[in-house]
C-alpha cells in the first residue's frame, strides 16, 4: 500500500480546543449528545492525527448535527446515507481518519442497508451510533430500537415492533469490531473511542444516549451511578466477566446457556467466563444478554478480530494491476483494445 494511502499517525500537538469550532451547539440542554461530543473532542487530539486528516460524516437527526461541532472536515449529508458517503470518502482518500456519526433511526432504520454493507466490507471507518431509542429530530416517533410497548407520537397505543439490538445486527453483518458505551460513562467511552480508532476495518460503536425531551431515562438502569454496577457488565479482553457493586457477580456457561452467579465458594473466580473479543461464540453470548432482564447489559469492546479491509484490498488490487500491466496513462487508455489504422 502506497504511503499516501495510509493514515499518518504521529505525535501532533493538538488539544481539545483545536476541535471546537466557534459556532453554538444546538442540542437541547441536558441532551446526551453533549457528553459524547466532549469525549470525541477530548480523544481526537490524542490519536496522533492531524486535524485536517479527520473527516466526520453524518446523516440526518439530532445526533447527525455532530460534524458542525467538530472543527475538522465534515459532511452533514442526507438521512441514512452517511455510511455510504463515508465509504466513498475513505476510498477516495484512504489517508483520512473517517468517522461516521449516526442515530438509531438514521443508521438502523432508513440507513440499515448501507450500515450492514459497510460492516461486511470492513472499510476502515469508525461508526458512532447514538442510540436513544427514539427519533429525536422529528419530535419523538419510535425507532427500530424502541422497546415493545413504547408509547410515542406514532405509537400512541404502544409500539408493536420488535426491536433490533444494533450490536447484534452488526455481528450478523460480519462486523470486525463491536463496542458499546453510554453517554454518561466518560472513562469507558474514551477507551472505546481509542480502541475503535486503533482497529483496522470498520469499528462499530453503539452509544446509549439519553434524549431528555422524548425518551428521558431510557437507559436509567445503566446511567444511574447507583444502579449501574448491577445492571452493566464492562468486559475486557482476557478478563473474567465480573460485575456488581462489589464485583461479586459473574457470568458462567451452564450447559448451553449463560447464567449469572455470585462469585464465591461454589463459583470461584476461575469458573467465571473470560472475555475473548476474538471468539464469535463469546460475542454472541454477550449480545444475547443485552435486552434480557436476567442479565446485565454488556459494555466495552465486545468483538475485535483482524480481517482484510476493503480499502486495503482496493488499493493493493490497483497496485498489483499496475505492477502487472503497467501503469496506464491517457495515451495507453486511448490505445486499448483492437486498434487498426486507416
Amino acid at each position: 500500500m502506497s504511503d499516501k494511502n495510509a493514515i499518518k499517525v504521529e505525535p501532533v500537538a493538538l488539544t481539545r480546543k483545536d476541535f471546537v469550532p466557534g459556532n453554538e451547539v444546538r442540542w437541547c440542554p441536558g441532551c446526551g449528545d453533549y457528553s459524547v461530543l466532549a469525549q470525541v473532542q477530548k480523544m481526537f487530539p490524542e490519536m496522533g492525527i492531524k486535524r485536517e486528516d479527520f473527516a466526520v460524516i453524518s446523516g440526518i437527526g439530532c445526533s447527525s448535527r455532530f460534524p458542525y461541532y467538530m472543527d475538522t472536515y465534515g459532511f452533514h449529508t442526507i438521512h441514512g446515507r452517511a455510511t455510504a458517503i463515508a465509504s466513498g470518502v475513505k476510498l477516495a482518500n484512504p489517508a483520512l481518519s473517517v468517522w461516521v456519526v449516526t442515530g438509531d433511526g438514521d443508521g438502523f432504520s432508513i440507513g440499515g442497508n448501507h450500515m450492514i454493507h459497510l460492516l461486511r466490507r470492513n472499510i476502515d471507518i469508525n461508526v458512532l451510533l447514538f442510540n436513544n431509542r427514539i427519533y429525536g429530530l422529528t419530535k419523538g416517533q419510535y425507532s427500530p430500537t424502541s422497546l415493545p410497548g413504547a408509547k410515542t407520537k406514532s405509537s400512541p397505543f404502544g409500539s408493536i415492533d420488535n426491536p433490533f439490538i444494533p450490536a447484534s445486527v452488526a455481528f450478523g453483518a460480519e462486523a470486525s469490531f463491536i463496542a458499546r458505551a453510554i453517554d454518561v460513562d466518560v472513562k469507558n467511552m474514551q477507551d472505546v473511542l481509542m480502541e475503535s480508532h486503533q482497529h483496522k476495518g470498520t469499528s462499530f460503536v453503539e452509544i446509549y444516549q439519553n434524549c431528555v425531551i422524548f425518551n428521558d431515562g431510557a437507559f436509567a438502569d445503566v446511567s444511574n451511578k447507583k444502579t449501574r454496577p448491577d445492571h452493566a457488565l464492562f468486559v475486557k479482553h482476557g478478563e473474567p466477566m465480573v460485575f456488581g457493586a462489589d464485583q461479586n457477580k459473574g457470568i458462567i456457561i451452564d450447559g448451553s446457556h449463560p447464567k449469572v452467579v455470585d462469585i464465591g465458594k461454589e463459583y470461584p473466580i476461575e469458573r467465571i467466563l473470560v472475555h475473548d473479543k476474538t471468539n464469535p461464540l463469546i460475542t454472541n453470548l454477550l449480545l444475547q444478554m443485552t435486552l434480557d432482564n436476567h442479565f446485565p447489559t454488556p459494555f466495552g469492546v465486545l468483538r475485535q478480530v483482524d480481517k482484510p479491509t476493503y480499502d486495503e484490498g482496493l488499493i493493493s488490487q490497483i497496485d498489483a494491476a499496475k505492477e502487472k500491466l503497467g501503469e496506464g496513462g491517457l495515451e495507453e487508455l486511448l490505445a486499448l483494445g483492437d486498434v487498426w489504422e486507416v
Binding site: R51, E52, S87, L96
Partner: protein, 616 residues
C-alpha cells in the same frame, strides 16, 4: 452455377437465433471484422430480458443487427437485407422486417417439427413455397459442423454450439471478410481450452469453404472501404466509450477517478469496462444499491476524486434524493443514465428516451442540474468527457443521458490524440493561500462560473463543513433566513443558466432558413440524419439540429427557430423535449413519438418529413 461478385454501398445484416445460439457474439465478431476491413458501421443488439428463455420459443429469440457501408453509416439500418435465422422462432419474429427480395440464411437442421410448432409455423417455411419472394439459403449447419468436427475431440454438445461460427464463416465468405482476426480472438479467448478454439476455427473455415465451394450462393458482395478520415480506429460500444470518456477526463485532469455503481441493464457494461481498468488507477465500487452508488460517489467527490455514478431509469429514480444533495453542496459529480423502456421495470433490455423529464425535474425543491446527451456510440466518449469537465468547472452534478441503443450499439471510433481533448485544469485551494486573516470560505464563488472552491480534506487550514441544509453564501454556514434562501436559490439557478457560455454555436445540417427544422437530442441522431439527408437530396426544404445540451439550452436556439416554419421533434418517448421547447419558446412543434423499445429508422423520419412538407 458461378458466383458473381456484386458491389454494394451498404448492407444491413440481422443475426437472429435462440438466446443460447450465441447471436450477440456472432454479430460482434462480424462487426469487428467489418470495422477492420474499413467499412463504417453501426450495430443494434436486441435481446430478451430473460437470460435464456426456453429454447425454440418466440420469447427466447435474440438478435443482432448491423449496417455497414462504404459511406458514413448513421444508423444500424432500417430493414435488414440479410437475415440469418438459426431457428424457426427467429425466422418468425424477424421475417416481417426483411426487405422484399432479401436474403435468408437458415439453419435447416433447427426446423424440426417441435421447433416449428413452438414458433407457431403451420408448415416448414423452408420447404413450402412461402418464402419465394426472398432469396433463401437453407443450410444444414448442425449436420455440417458435426461432420467437420467429428474428429475434433469436442463433446457433441460443444460441436452443436459451433454452428453460429459456421454461419459466420458463410458470411465472411459472402462479404469477402478476412477471418484471421476472429481466429486470433478465439485463440486468446480460449487460451485455456485450445480444443475449443480450434473447434470454433474449424467451424468458421467449414462455413467459409461451404460458401466458396458449394456455390449455392449465386452472389458474393463487395462493400468497398468507406472514405473515412485517416487515423487510428477501434470499435466501441457506447457504454465502453462512456467508460473511456470518464477515465480520460480523470487522466487529463490528473485526478483519480471513483465510480460508485449498481449493476442494471443496459448500463452495467460501463461498470464492467471500468473495473477492468485497475492499472489506470480506476476505483470501481459495486455498491449495494443505486443510492449507495451515488452517495459513495458524492463522498468520493467531497474527498477529492473525480466521481461518477452510472445507471438506468429505475436507478436514476432512486438517486433523485442524493442528486439534490450534490446540487446543494455544489460538488462535482457525473451521473450517467443509460435510458431503457419504462415506466417501472418496463422493457429492461430495450431502448427509449423517456427519462429526460426525470433528469430535468426528478428531485425535490427547485434544483437545476445540467443535462447533456450523447448522440452516437463513440460520441459517448466526448459527452462523458465534457460532462466531467463541466461538473468540475462549475462544481455541480451533471446528468449525461445515453440510451440502450447507444450503450449496446457499436461503431468504429477514430481515436483522438491526447492533445485533441479539451483542456481540463482543476485548481484546488491550497493551505498557503489562507491565514488567520484570509479565512477559507467554502461558498465563495468564482465570479464568472459561480463555482465554489473544491477544498480537499487533508489540506491544512481548510477544514470546513458542508451539508444538505440551506447555506449562507460565501461562509457556507447553515441558515434558515428567508432572504438567504431566495438568494441561494437564484444563485443555483443562475449558475446552471450561465453554462450556456460553454455551448458552441448551434450547428445546422442544411439551410439556416427552411420550411422545416427537425430537432432531436440523444441517440436518435443517426436516424434523423438519414431521414433529413434523404429528404434534402430529394429537394425538400428541411434542416436538422441535434442537441447535446438540454439544460441549459443553447442561447442561440430561439433566434434560429425563427427561421423555420415548422419544427418537428422526433423522440423515443411521448414528447418530452417537445414539452421543454414549448415551455421555453412558446412555440408549437410537431411531434413524432415512438415508444416501442426500438430506435427510429431513417425511413420513419423521412416519411414524416414528407407527410409534413407535402401537405403544404
Amino acid at each position: 452455377m458461378t458466383t458473381q461478385v456484386k458491389h454494394v454501398d451498404e448492407v444491413t445484416i440481422r443475426f437472429a437465433g435462440d438466446s443460447g445460439d450465441g447471436m450477440q457474439l456472432t454479430g460482434t465478431r462480424f462487426t469487428e471484422t467489418t470495422a477492420i476491413a474499413g467499412n463504417d458501421l453501426k450495430t443494434l443488439p436486441d435481446y430478451p430480458a430473460e437470460i435464456r428463455a426456453p429454447a425454440g420459443t418466440l420469447g427466447g429469440v435474440s438478435a443482432f443487427q448491423l449496417m455497414f457501408g462504404s459511406k458514413t453509416v448513421f444508423t444500424s439500418g432500417d430493414a435488414p437485407d440479410v437475415l440469418v435465422a438459426m431457428n424457426p422462432a427467429a425466422l418468425k419474429v424477424h421475417l416481417k422486417e426483411l426487405v422484399k427480395g432479401g436474403v435468408i440464411l437458415a439453419n435447416a437442421d433447427a426446423f424440426s417439427d417441435k421447433n416449428l410448432k413452438l414458433a407457431g409455423w403451420e408448415s416448414n417455411p423452408l420447404e413450402d413455397d412461402s418464402l419465394s419472394s426472398y432469396t433463401l439459403y437453407s443450410v444444414q449447419m448442425t449436420k455440417l459442423v458435426n461432420l467437420a468436427l467429428a474428429e475434433s475431440g469436442l463433446a457433441p454438445k460443444s460441436i452443436d454450439r459451433t454452428k453460429n461460427m459456421f454461419a459466420l464463416g458463410i458470411l465472411f465468405w459472402m462479404y469477402n471478410r478476412d477471418p484471421e482476426p476472429t481466429f486470433r480472438w478465439l485463440k486468446e479467448k480460449f487460451s485455456k481450452a485450445p480444443v475449443l478454439a480450434e473447434g470454433n476455427i474449424t467451424a468458421i473455415k467449414a462455413g467459409y469453404n461451404y460458401g466458396d465451394i458449394t456455390r449455392i450462393f449465386n452472389t458474393s458482395y463487395r462493400v468497398e472501404r468507406a472514405e473515412i478520415p485517416k487515423g487510428k480506429y477501434k470499435s466501441v460500444t457506447g457504454n465502453e466509450a462512456t467508460a473511456y470518456g470518464l477515465v480520460a477526463a480523470a487522466k487529463k485532469a490528473g485526478k483519480e477517478i471513483f465510480l460508485g455503481s449498481y449493476p442494471i441493464t443496459p448500463a452495467s457494461e460501463i461498470l464492467h469496462t471500468m473495473s477492468k481498468l485497475k492499472n489506470f488507477g480506476v476505483k470501481t465500487f459495486q455498491a449495494e444499491d443505486e443510492i449507495a452508488g451515488i452517495t459513495s460517489a458524492i463522498g468520493a467527490s467531497f474527498a477529492g476524486d473525480l466521481a461518477c455514478t452510472t445507471t438506468s431509469g429505475p436507478g436514476l429514480a432512486l438517486k433523485s434524493e442524493a442528486i439534490g444533495l450534490a446540487l446543494i453542496t455544489e460538488l462535482p459529480l457525473v451521473i450517467v443514465n443509460v435510458q431503457r423502456g419504462g415506466p417501472s421495470t418496463g422493457l429492461p433490455t430495450k431502448t427509449e428516451q423517456s427519462d429526460l423529464l426525470q433528469a430535468l425535474y426528478g428531485r425535490n425543491g427547485d434544483g437545476e442540474v445540467p443535462v447533456i446527451a450523447a448522440s452516437t456510440p463513440s460520441d459517448c466518449f466526448y459527452a462523458a468527457y465534457e460532462a466531467s469537465r463541466m461538473a468540475v468547472k462549475y462544481m455541480t452534478p451533471v446528468i449525461l443521458l445515453t440510451d440502450g441503443y447507444l450503450g449496446n450499439g457499436s461503431e468504429p471510433w477514430k481515436i483522438p490524440s491526447v492533445d485533441e481533448l479539451d483542456d481540463f485544469e482543476i485548481s484546488h485551494p491550497k493551505a498557503e493561500d489562507f491565514s488567520e486573516d484570509v479565512k477559507f470560505q467554502p461558498y465563495k464563488r468564482d465570479e464568472v462560473t459561480l463555482a465554489r472552491p473544491w477544498a480537499i480534506p487533508g489540506t491544512k487550514g481548510l477544514e470546513h463543513r458542508i451539508g444538505g441544509l440551506e447555506k449562507v453564501d460565501v461562509s457556507g454556514d447553515v441558515s434558515y433566513e428567508p432572504m438567504n434562501h431566495q438568494v441561494m436559490t437564484h444563485l443555483r439557478v443562475d449558475k446552471v443558466a450561465g453554462m450556456t457560455r460553454e455551448i458552441p454555436q448551434t450547428e445546422i445540417f442544411g439551410e439556416a432558413k427552411a420550411k422545416l427544422l427537425v430537432l432531436g437530442w440523444g441517440g436518435t441522431f443517426g436516424a434523423i440524419h438519414v431521414g433529413v439527408d434523404r429528404a434534402q437530396q430529394k429537394g425538400y426544404s428541411v434542416s436538422q439540429i441535434h442537441l447535446r445540451w438540454v439544460n441549459p439550452l443553447p442561447a442561440d436556439l430561439g433566434d434560429i427557430f425563427k427561421n423555420f416554419d415548422e419544427i418537428l421533434i422526433p423522440e423515443l418517448n411521448m414528447g418530452q423535449l417537445s414539452k421543454i421547447i414549448r415551455m421555453n419558446f412558446l412555440r408549437d412543434v410537431i411531434q413524432l413519438n415512438k415508444v416501442q423499445g426500438l430506435p427510429f429508422k431513417g425511413s420513419e423520419i423521412e416519411t414524416k418529413i414528407y407527410s409534413i412538407l407535402d401537405k403544404k
